[in-house]
Subunit: 351 residues, 2 copies
DNA sequence: ATGAAAGCGCTAACAC
DNA sequence: GTGTTAGCGCTTTCAT
């Protein structure tokens, strides 16, 4: 029979790494219960007797104990963390969604972890790595995931995913968005219906902006809103779109095509710039020039003339996305986890 | 001699909870090394022979392994997470700081976790709890921490803290901000210097706005910029300040005090509203009315007339805060971890 | 209802 | 340079 040696050091000298942080064990000891009982008192209060519950709560109160979510998450495989990736938080169009997401998730006891990809694929992959690394319980993506590698990894991670702000026949998982091409077409049709006959566009250059622009131009051409050469005058600006871009955009557009009578701007900031430039040049809006923006930012309704724009219900996107994620986390399958929330043209006074 | 019983179950039947997730052990096995060696290959590549490094990297590549940061953080007591609390991300003034923070932290291999307190103390405590619970390596606060309980808890947690956007003689830990009262005074003095003689103010109502307003009014009175009754006309609006607030603010101000010749707005959005309302009423800016904003948002320079405003270098706040936190994490004591970054009045055309 | 033991996936500490 | 061992602080599993 082999005699197993005792541990090389006496128990009290056993190397410990504790750095003085307060742990559940300390609380449990103070309450005179086992750690697991203290854990239950905190997580499933109904599963312990009222008396013990009170004792544990008092111990927590007295010590100021804050549970280590890392340790809990590691053991339970639940991090109560949902990540969202947006191109940028500087663009007000995403703000509404982020706030709705924060609200819904917080209410459900989850925390939102926000990442900015800056419209760059490489950064998107980095963020995804951080998200998977932290074992987020869910991910909300802005736009659809393009990189096949990123798609595969995310899928392999098993994390519930909602893609937003766009529609695609092949979502990674769940989807809530709207059709950018239909939006572009709708705006062209709207301008036509309002009697405009020579339209132009100032647009950003990201993928979704491109979809809107293409559709806008195509529909405009079909409706004979193009110039004599069959072209629809367009200016492209890099994100983020600014008021300054709107001003120079209109200036250039007007210089080359003095006969345009309406401009579709791919953001309300651009539209504000166009309005400003028109004012500076003494061009009547909507009299001689119609302007339509995108985003329905707060200021749109407050300008004079009030800005006609296209509204996307970011709030609904955020709430729906949160709902999808939370359902999936709860183990329920969402029946039809694809949602087209559409868009609305908000008629005001600039067209 | 007591015979220690073997483990109650044979090793192979030992209960395991593994749910199929890829772990470092799998990677190590594939590379033919011990887990710790694989860990070193990933975290301290220099501490490992090139040949083994290559083998581990290949194993990672082939399996698509993503380290579990929770587990790593738990063991190493480093989460590579820095949290920031801002009142709201809808207010563009904080955006620049957030972006600088994100940039600096990302570059150093840290992740920013953003929380919105919504100007409410209760929410601030909740967020703090989440931050301590996740064992963030640092916290950046917007404004100074008021609740004594929150101060104590944060201090007790040992997490490095930077308070921003304000100055106080008694910071919790580190500080980078500017004096809101000095700002208010400076604006009053500036208006005086520019020849204005009846000034007014439209302001938000949060703590820092109040400091600015008080100082503005006091200095204005001292410089004889008040009305005949010795009062400085003021409108107060709840956050978030909007263009609409600016419009109604000016309307009300003018109705009650037709002789005012300058307005200090506590945000550029308010100023934009004032500009709009003035335009709608045919009031010349800067001729009859001077306008000064706060924040130097992107559009300020692009308006016509271009908006005179007060610039806060959010970028510098973010970078400095990140620097302080990172230094502290690295175990270095920052010599003077209090920084007044001041402010700048940006002269343009509305005054 | 409560507790003991084991393990979540990783790294610090200590050998060799 | 590489490996062994023992945790990090919590929750799951199983037993009482």
């Amino acid at each position: 029979m082999t005699d197993k040696p005792d541990s090389p050091l006496p128990p009290t000298t056993r190397r410990r790494r504790r750095h003085g942080g307060l742990t559940l064990r300390d609380v449990a000891k103070l309450a005179g219960v086992a750690p697991i009982t203290a854990s239950r008192a905190l997580n499933t209060p109904d599963a312990v007797s009222p008396e013990i519950l009170a004792r544990v709560r008092e111990a927590v109160e007295r010590t100021g104990y804050v549970p280590n979510i890392l340790a809990g998450g590691l053991a339970s495989r639940q991090t109560r963390l949902v990540a969202a990736i947006v191109p940028t938080i500087s663009s007000p169009v995403f703000l509404e969604m982020i706030e709705a997401l924060t609200r819904s998730l917080t209410a459900a006891g989850y925390q939102l972890m926000l990442g900015q990809s800056g419209y760059a694929d490489s950064r998107e992959e980095e963020l995804l790595e951080a998200i998977i690394g932290r074992r987020a319980d869910g991910v909300v993506l802005t736009g659809v995931l393009r990189s096949p590698l990123a798609r595969r990894r995310l899928l392999a991670s098993g994390i519930p995913v909602v893609e937003t702000w766009d529609l695609t026949p092949t979502p990674v998982d769940m989807l809530v968005g709207f059709s950018h091409s239909r939006l572009g077409s709708a705006v062209a049709a709207y301008l036509h219906e309002r009697g405009r006959r020579r339209v132009a566009i100032i647009s950003a250059t990201d993928e979704r902006a491109r979809q809107r622009t293409d559709a806008f131009i195509q529909t405009a051409q079909a409706l004979k809103l193009a110039g004599p050469d069959g072209q629809v005058p367009a200016r492209y600006v890099a994100a983020p779109t600014t008021v300054g871009h709107g001003r120079t955009g209109l200036r250039e557009l007007l210089a080359a095509h003095p006969d345009i009578d309406a401009v579709f701007c791919s953001s309300d900031s651009l539209a504000l710039g166009v309005l400003n430039e028109a004012h500076a040049q003494g061009i009547a809006v909507p009299g001689r020039l119609g302007v339509i923006g995108l985003g329905d930012q707060g200021f749109a309704r407050d300008l004079s003339p009030a800005l006609t724009t296209v509204r996307i219900d970011g709030n609904l996107i955020g709430e729906t996305a949160a709902h999808y994620i939370l359902e999936r986390i709860a183990g329920r399958q969402v029946a039809e986890p694809v949602c087209d929330i559409g868009f609305t043209i908000v008629e005001r006074s600039t067209i």
